[in-house]
Amino acid sequence: MAKKKSDEKNNQDDDNTKNESDLSSNDEEPNFSDPEGFVDDISDEELVGDILKLKPKETDGVESVIVVDGVPQVGPSRIEKLKSVINKIFVKFGNIVNEYYPVNAEGHTKGYIFIEYSSPVHAAEAVKLTNNFKLDKQHTFQVNLFTDFSKYEQIPNKWEPPEPQPYEGQADLHYFMLEPDAYDQFAVVTAQGSSVQIWQNTQPDPTLVEQRSQWTQTYIKWSPLGTYLSTFHKMGIALWAGHNYAQYKKFAHPGVQFIDYSPCEKYLVTYSPQGDPHNPDQKRIIIWDIRTGLEKRSFNPEGPTAWPIFRWSHDDKYFARIGQNNDALQVYETPSFGLLEKKSIKINGIRDFNWSPTDNIVAYWVPEDKDVPASVTLLELPNRNEIRKKNLFNVADCKIHWQKSGDYLCVKVDRYSKVRKEKNETKYSGMYCNFEVFHMREKQIPVDSVECKEPIQAFAWEPVGSKFAMIHGESPNINVSFYEVRVGQAPILLKKLEKRACNHLFWSPGGQFVVLAGLGSNGGGSLEFVDTHDFLVMNTTDHFQMSDVEWDPTGRYVSTGVSFWKTKVDTGYWIWSFQGKILKRFNMEKFAQMLWRPRAPMLLGEEKQKEIKKNLKKYYPQFESKDRMRQSKASKELIEKRAALMEKFNEYRQERIKEYLDNKPRRLALRNHVDTDELDADTQNVEEEVVEFFIKEEVTIID
């Protein structure tokens, strides 16, 4: 539009200059007339081609007019009503200066209208947002700019194939996986995104990869495979990827606060809890296709709104949510984004569900209802087979925990021995806890049960392997128990660590190692690094007031952080080795968030991995020597740095020491010629003084 305006301006300017030249020719002084016999063989096109282009067109000045087609055809009696309806829709975009409803001989409207705005900007906005607007079932608006007519008039008769655009290769989005030493990246955010830094966890010191201020307005999030970095802005979400963290896509969703990626990074769900105040029709949840940047479907939340509202199956094929009134599970399929088989799955009273991380199986639970006991059901999709159902009694609450490899499912069941109804609240007493373990890979999915009488503080599966750990008991008698699940057996208690100061447990992504942590104000920031192979406590330490613990994606490092969101003093993040050795402390003011960049799963097959594990001894010296070289290089660098500092310092000192020595006579004069430069410099003047100290009193009785 702006361009057009300037064009107009040029037009005017040209007019002015023309007038001026007319004026000057009236003066008659120089003779500009053609000599006789002159034949004008230059066409206007050649002479003033550039000006001709700016020749006013019929449609100039009508850029602010739009044509709306598909308007209901009504008789003269209802025309006023129609006008008010139409007005309501179109007045949103700007001041309407003129409107025209063409009518036929009988006074019926013809089904199309013209609207003129005060500015072309408003017209363009109106076209953008009302084209294909559904007024009702029969009427859908087709909205065009009036100037479009000239655009479509000029369509050449002969079709010319479009020029093929040179292919611009997509930047390698997975370059960070090609790091030869498998150094991981992590992002650090300080308060309100005032600074976002990307670091690479190189050894011995991390290196800064990228730093931008105001990169995000609140916080950041990595995509699940680490390809994209998402930043939050008032107007929506921006994704950054590739070598230089170039902007990859933008998703406009005003007021967005939460996002969720589908597990394969195909889709992005954005949620704006307040919605867009300027556009109330905007849905509050939008699902986007990440690669095209297009909106796939939008929803308004209904039913319980614990984020994420939609949960994705592992292969991005399905996503589901609990329907309104907890009476159904709504499963949608991609890429059509319609309900699976066009209907939701009726499950009365469904409370919570979770997808298996590896199969298209949903586990959900429903509470007791009159005579029907509570139950946990495994539902296979898309065929809706109930592959296992387990009834449970005296259930207060259930938590569904899938093991990351999808081999086991554990449902933590909070059970009561007494129940009391008070007003509208149900009060449970005599709580105890059951863990129902489903063996997913065995025939008919046998279920085992482990009971625990004490309150449970935390529960977590070993991501790969067959162990799970829980923290139970009440302060100060908090214990950590490790169980192992085996084929055809009930879970076995492997080890119970007693009297620990922790309330959270974090398994290494590779299994075997676990960090027991005391988070929050009463956790004290205690840290315990445990090897569950032989239950060796490798280190016990702390990071005071720590609020976060996170393993790096390879399970080699652990980061702990004190976030500015929780406490105001001593914020920062520390990096530990998996054995609990402190590697780096970064104390920074207003530190908010530290996130490891996730990695895509390993492409090596299971057998290859096993082979590598078997031959680990072969590779060992290779890495060892590399590490040693790096260490020695680092210490060499440090020593060089120190030597340089020392040299500089000594250089400066030389001069000062000389001055100091030159000043000696003056100092002597000031202190009665007693040399006090060194403690024992003035040997003649020393006066020995004997001071007796009372050291010990002993009473000996002599008979």
């Binding site: 003093v569 030597a643 020392m646 310092f649 400066y652 000062r656 000043n663 202190r671 430069d677």
Partner: protein
């Protein structure tokens, strides 16, 4: 290394200082009574009774014959070290915040706080003869300080200039012949709590509320090094034998009741003077450390804290064996 605890003060320690030989340790506290101790075994040698308010600053001359103290009771007193008797008393308009003998001890400087329309002032007095008449004697020099008050002071080793540290983090150098300001730098952003010389008086270290201690060149006030911590620094000292500095501080005394000792970080922290790297910490105080001092032989150091204790630490042999590679 088990420290010797000097338990004689009833309130927070404000300053500690060794005499030149290091056999005695002088201490002042908010309990009005400066003490002197044997640094070797921590036995108390005596007390200077006479002040009515918190004693903010102390100094002892190079011959350990006279001791002086400035206090919140608006007096500045000079004492005889041997007897503990008060030999001179000067009344001031506001509390005395800093004081120091000159190198020759023929002069002394003290500064007063800005309070109740009273400006902060620096006084230089003649201390060659101290008796009752000192209270009526006119100072050699009297400099009113217009802006931020003086919070710490140092006297050079040729009796020619004074360096003052201010409330706003400024450091100013004064020429005593003219009474003019020669130089001024602002490298700290907050109050300078303490300044101490290195052994030969060519460099000094500052301790500031802005969480840092800094090393300056004494001649042109050039910033040489910075030692960063996470808490306000109340005092810092330079080892006379090694390139080490010790830094003491911790959470502000005002906020201490709301924080545990662990958050407070009431440790003495050791830095390498040149590399600015921290290499050791000494725990012990359960309030912020208000003053630290190295023994002149460099084999021990002391710290005095808000908790009212003075801890005399004698270094283990490992301290002397520890070397930075470079």
């Amino acid at each position: 290394m088990k420290p010797i605890m000097l338990q004689g003060h009833e309130r927070a320690i404000t300053q500690i200082k060794y005499n030149r030989e290091g056999d005695l340790l002088f201490s002042s506290s908010k309990d009005n009574k400066p003490n002197v101790w044997f640094s070797l075994n921590g036995e108390r040698l005596g007390t200077f009774n006479g002040h009515q308010g918190a004693v903010w600053c102390i100094d002892v001359d190079w011959t350990t014959t006279r001791f002086m103290s400035g206090a919140g009771d608006n007096t500045f007193k000079i004492w005889d070290c041997a007897t503990g008797k008060e030999i001179g008393n000067i009344s001031t308009a506001s509390s005395v915040r800093t004081c120091m003998f000159s190198y020759s001890a023929n002069m002394a400087v003290y500064t007063t706080d800005r309070a109740m329309k009273q400006p902060c002032e620096m006084f230089i007095i003649d201390t060659r003869l101290v008796d009752d008449s000192i209270s009526n004697q006119a100072p050699i020099l009297r400099i009113p300080i217009k802006d931020a008050r003086i919070s710490s002071i140092l006297w050079d080793n040729v009796d020619e200039s004074i360096i003052s540290g201010h409330e706003n983090g400024e450091i100013t150098q004064w020429d005593l012949k003219t009474g003019r300001q020669i130089n001024s730098v602002k490298e700290h952003s907050l109050l300078i709590n303490d300044m101490q010389w290195n052994k030969d008086g060519t460099m000094f270290i500052t301790a500031s509320k802005d969480h840092t201690a800094k090393l300056f060149d004494a001649k042109d006030l050039l910033l040489l090094k910075t030692y960063k911590t996470e808490r306000p620094v109340n005092s810092a000292a330079i080892s006379p034998i090694f390139e080490h500095v010790v830094v003491g501080g911790g959470q502000d005394a005002m906020d201490v009741t709301t924080t545990s000792a662990r958050v407070g970080k009431f440790d003495s922290r050791f830095f390498h003077m040149v590399f600015e790297e921290e290499f050791g910490r000494v725990k012990g105080h359960f309030g912020p450390i208000n003053s630290v001092a190295f023994h002149p032989d460099g084999k021990s150091y002391s710290s005095g804290g808000e908790d009212g204790f003075i801890r005399v630490h004698t270094f283990d042999s490992s301290y002397f064996e520890y070397n930075f590679d470079y």
